[in-house]
């Protein structure tokens, strides 16, 4: 009977087959050689894969910051105001855009058109979100949302950069302060964060300098509205 040495190595042989395999291993040099060969093979594959470089620093920059809870804790009256404002913007969005663009209940979709993303995000966040055209070398490829944030993903220099937008909150930012081209102060730490007009912005991506560049372009676009 031929033993399935892979099943033996993975511990998935039934008791009878395992006993037979153990017996064969004690007396049969070719069985020992085959099992050793299999172990060496699996170990070679594992070692080869684990030796590959992992760009941990860049990956760590990709971890999004959890959503702030500050809006949720707002009082009853404030919630009413937000609710009325949301209804007004939704009514405006419906009047202005009709049924164009994805339904706001869609959590994410692929698009290269900042106008489409803008319409979807405006309906989603119940506020006017401008179309963020960041230039030819920054291509929008996806829009998605989580919690009270919408996020536009742009491909810049072959990598994805996430431009998050949400309603402005009373929140201070941590990190190194810089002046964006629009004159707005932004904070660089885990990504680039700033408040501008009615918006709170957060740009995150694998390279800090590029993230700052994307933040600059975004801020300039916001300044135009």
């Amino acid at each position: 009977m031929r033993i399935d040495w892979q099943a033996y190595l993975d511990g998935s042989l039934d008791a009878e087959s395992k006993a037979l395999a153990d017996q064969q291993l004690q007396s049969d040099p070719s069985a020992q050689k085959e099992l050793a060969g299999l172990k060496a093979f699996v170990s070679s594959v594992r070692n080869a894969c684990l030796c590959e470089d992992v760009p941990l620093e860049r990956l760590n920059r990709l971890v999004p910051e959890p959503k702030s809870e500050s809006l949720r804790s707002s009082n009853y009256r404030t919630r009413w105001v937000y609710g009325l404002a949301a209804a007004a913007v939704l009514a405006f969005a419906f009047f202005r855009f009709g049924t164009q663009g994805p339904d706001p209940s869609v959590p994410d979709f692929a698009t290269n058109d900042p106008q489409v993303a803008s319409r979807w995000a405006s309906a989603k966040l119940s506020m006017n979100i401008p179309a963020l055209d960041l230039g030819r070398d920054a291509t929008l490829f996806r829009a998605h949302s989580y919690g009270e944030r919408c996020c536009f993903d742009y491909k810049v220099k072959g990598k994805a950069y996430h431009v998050n937008i949400e309603r402005k909150k009373d929140q201070s930012f941590e990190g190194r302060s810089i002046k964006l081209d629009s004159g707005t102060t932004a904070f660089v730490g885990r990504g680039v964060k700033w408040s501008q007009g009615a918006y709170q912005m957060y740009v995150v991506g694998p390279d800090e300098d590029v993230a700052i560049d994307v933040a600059n372009r975004t801020s300039s676009q916001l300044q135009r509205i």
Binding site: S30, L38, V54, N60
Partner: protein, 167 residues
């Protein structure tokens, strides 16, 4: 930093390696990890608290598949159903194949085979965890893993024969 965020950071190397095995390039793998992290935060409430690694890999696969669907539709071949049984002889090959060659041949395998080797042999997920991550039955994990290893061994053995056994 929240516990969930800290747990996500712990999984970054595994996620990257699995993403690279799927996407076959560093840039695409980084993008895929980025999308996965966003989706993980978004769907955090649906995590049952059991196997974070399996859950994240499942999200990563879904993100990858969505990306593939967006880029172009691609024929899917159910390898487990069409491939014949192979009976590998593990002692045939004296493992002198260098890491670069192994990685190259691994990347030449089908996506299903690359993934199962990455999850079970490299990241050492249990059959149960791999089944959860890949959304397949445990029995399929086992048979797919065995076939994938045999396929990789066969490719490496062919190389040694082609090189006249000089490697």
């Amino acid at each position: 930093m929240s516990d969930f965020e800290a747990s996500l950071r712990n999984e970054l190397p595994v996620l990257f390696r699995v993403a690279k095995r799927l996407a076959k390039s560093v840039d695409a793998a980084e993008d895929l990890v980025g999308q996965t992290l966003y989706a993980a935060i978004r769907f955090k409430h649906s995590f049952d608290g059991r196997h974070l690694r399996s859950w994240l890999i499942k999200i990563l696969r879904n993100e990858h598949n969505s990306q593939m669907r967006r880029d172009a539709s691609r024929p899917t071949v159910l390898l487990d159903e069409i491939e014949g049984e192979t009976e590998p002889f593990w002692d045939e090959v004296n493992w002198r194949v260098d890491a670069q060659t192994l990685l190259r041949e691994l990347d030449n395998l089908s996506e299903e085979h690359r993934m199962i080797i990455q999850l079970c042999d490299v990241e050492e997920l249990s059959y149960e965890q791999a089944a959860e991550a890949l959304d397949i039955p445990i029995g399929t994990v086992r048979s797919r893993l065995f076939r994938a290893r045999a396929k990789l061994r066969e490719r490496c053995a062919d190389l040694l024969v082609m090189d006249g056994g000089t490697r």
